[in-house]
């Protein structure tokens, strides 16, 4: 996933779309929007970011899961099988992005990149509703895909690269 921080206006539509699409319990969210301000007046910089699970290549949550409930499906999406999850919380402790939570039903829940939609060839709910079209979704392994082209053309960053997780959500800056 690639997100253009220069186009994001911080409307939080992605958050609402996710909550609706995935029936996220009230008070919880799988994605969220942050506003970071740096510098002092008058040289001030504002950055808006829609954040979520980074579906890391080197996912610490998958590594520490004692039952294998947290796993990476072919294609790279990190998923949790609710029926295998014992709710120990190890994956929540292991995530440097605090992207996971305990569902009121007990199991651990998180962003799935709307895997049920991807299977039907649709885009994740957050991407499909973004009014400024600042989010792009595609195959980073395919050099001709829109996301790969954007990363080739634009300056970008990932969150907390020093955590060593090899995140897969890129931010254009």
């Amino acid at each position: 996933m690639v997100i253009d921080t220069l186009k994001c206006v911080g409307c939080s539509d992605c958050v609402v779309a996710c909550q609706t699409e995935n029936s996220v319990p009230i008070g919880y969210c799988r994605d969220w929007v942050t506003e970071s301000v740096s510098g002092t007046y008058p040289t001030i910089e504002l950055e808006l970011k829609s954040e979520r699970c980074n579906h890391c290549d080197n996912a610490p949550c998958v590594r520490c899961c004692p039952t294998g409930a947290s796993h990476i499906v072919p294609g790279g999406v990190v998923m949790v099988t609710a029926d295998e999850c014992i709710g120990c919380g190890a994956c929540i402790e292991s995530c440097p992005y605090d992207a996971r939570y305990q569902h009121p039903d007990g199991y651990v829940d998180k962003c799935t990149f709307c895997y049920h939609r991807l299977e039907k060839g649709q885009l994740p709910a957050c991407v499909s509703v973004c009014p400024t079209k600042c989010m792009y979704f595609g195959d980073l392994d395919d050099a001709t895909s829109e996301v790969s082209q954007l990363l080739k053309a634009r300056k970008h960053k990932v969150l907390a690269p020093e955590a060593g997780t090899k995140p897969n959500v890129y931010y254009l800056i």
Binding site: G10, S12, V15, G27, Y28, C29, D31, W32, V33, T34, E35, S36, V37, S38, G39, T40, L48, P60, R63, C64, C65, P66, T67, G68, A69, A82, D83, E84, C85, I86, G87, C88, G89, A90, I92, E93, S94, C95, P96, Y97, D98, R100, Y101, Q102, D105, G106, Y107, L159, A160, E162, A163, G164
Partner: protein, 313 residues
């Protein structure tokens, strides 16, 4: 200046503003697991060395604590799970990369063995009770014969259990206070020290009390060195580790850590034990209880403080 806020309103229970996923039950389990590992280690060691007579409390009386501690610890762990009915999933797989997975398997072996061990001493612990059934008597004779074999299995497993309670936390690189390689040995030493303290507490023989006071004193000195080592390592670390260190140096856990763990739980009992070894008459229960208390508060501090520390991005 940099400031970051959530503008979509994020206040997930137990996640924001900082993690509160693991609580008192986990700290209790880490303490009881370490304590059980400590007693098991000494019981197995003295049995393998064929010196059971010299340490009756270690191999007999204190060993009663082990199955109880492990059972209470496991109940605490189960209580802390949020998807309890699926707990059997732990035993459908072995995941080498997950400390919790191999910890669960080690406990599956150690817990029944500790019950069997105590049962093998049934006649000596409760001489007035008669094992009514013949098969129980035969079973006990079988266990007594195999006590040394049990000890050989338990010695490495107790070390794994003790070190695992630390590695469980240190495996999370997202929590900088936990993520240091010294935490495993530190928790092991602390577990051995609390184990030795409970043996001192239950021992009636002067020789054994004296022996375990010496062992405990050495363990306390090693533990203090490891704590110093951990703090120095973080002090020389990256920004996230320096921020984690602030919680212990001037942050909200300073008094808990330095007051109750380092001074009351380690230095003060070490001074008392030294005075005792030099010949002063002191009630031996005081340093032993202080060590147990210090060990427990140490687990609480590490569990609670670790969850406040995080990556800055």
């Amino acid at each position: 200046m940099q400031e970051e806020i959530f503008i979509s309103g994020r206040n997930i229970p137990k996640i924001d503003p900082n993690l509160e996923i693991w609580h008192f039950p986990i700290a209790l389990y880490l303490f009881l697991g370490g304590l059980a590992a400590g007693i098991l280690f000494f019981a197995a060691l003295f049995t393998i060395l064929k010196k059971e007579k010299e340490a009756p409390a270690a191999v007999k009386y204190a060993m009663i604590i082990v199955p109880i501690a492990l059972s209470v610890g496991l109940i605490a762990l189960l209580y802390d799970l949020t998807h309890k009915l699926y707990v059997w999933q732990l035993y459908t797989t072995i995941r080498i990369e997950s400390p919790m997975s191999w910890g669960a398997w080690v406990l599956l072996v150690i817990t029944p063995l500790s019950f069997l061990w105590v049962f093998s001493y049934f006649n000596e612990l409760l001489p007035q009770w008669d094992l009514k059934f013949d098969f129980l008597k035969k079973f006990q004779t079988f266990l007594i014969k195999n006590r040394r074999n049990m000890a050989i299995v338990l010695l490495p497993l107790s070390l794994i259990l003790g070190i695992y309670t630390g590695i469980l936390l240190s495996a999370f690189n997202a929590r900088p206070l936990w993520n240091n390689a010294i935490l495993g040995p530190l928790f092991l030493t602390s577990g051995l020290s609390t184990g030795a303290a409970s043996i001192i507490l239950l021992s009636k023989s002067h020789f054994e009390k004296n022996l375990f006071s010496k062992i405990d004193l050495a363990l306390i000195i090693i533990e203090l060195a490891l704590i110093l080592h951990m703090l120095m390592g973080m002090y020389a670390g990256s920004a996230v580790q320096l921020e984690a260190l602030d919680i212990l140096f001037g942050g909200e856990f300073t008094v808990m850590f330095f007051g109750f763990v380092v001074i009351l739980g380690l230095i003060f009992p070490a001074v008392l034990e030294t005075a005792e070894l030099l010949g002063y008459k002191l009630p031996v229960a005081i340093p032993a209880l202080l060590i147990l208390m210090g060990g427990f508060i140490f687990r609480i501090v590490m569990v609670e403080a670790g969850q406040i520390t995080r990556y800055l991005y």
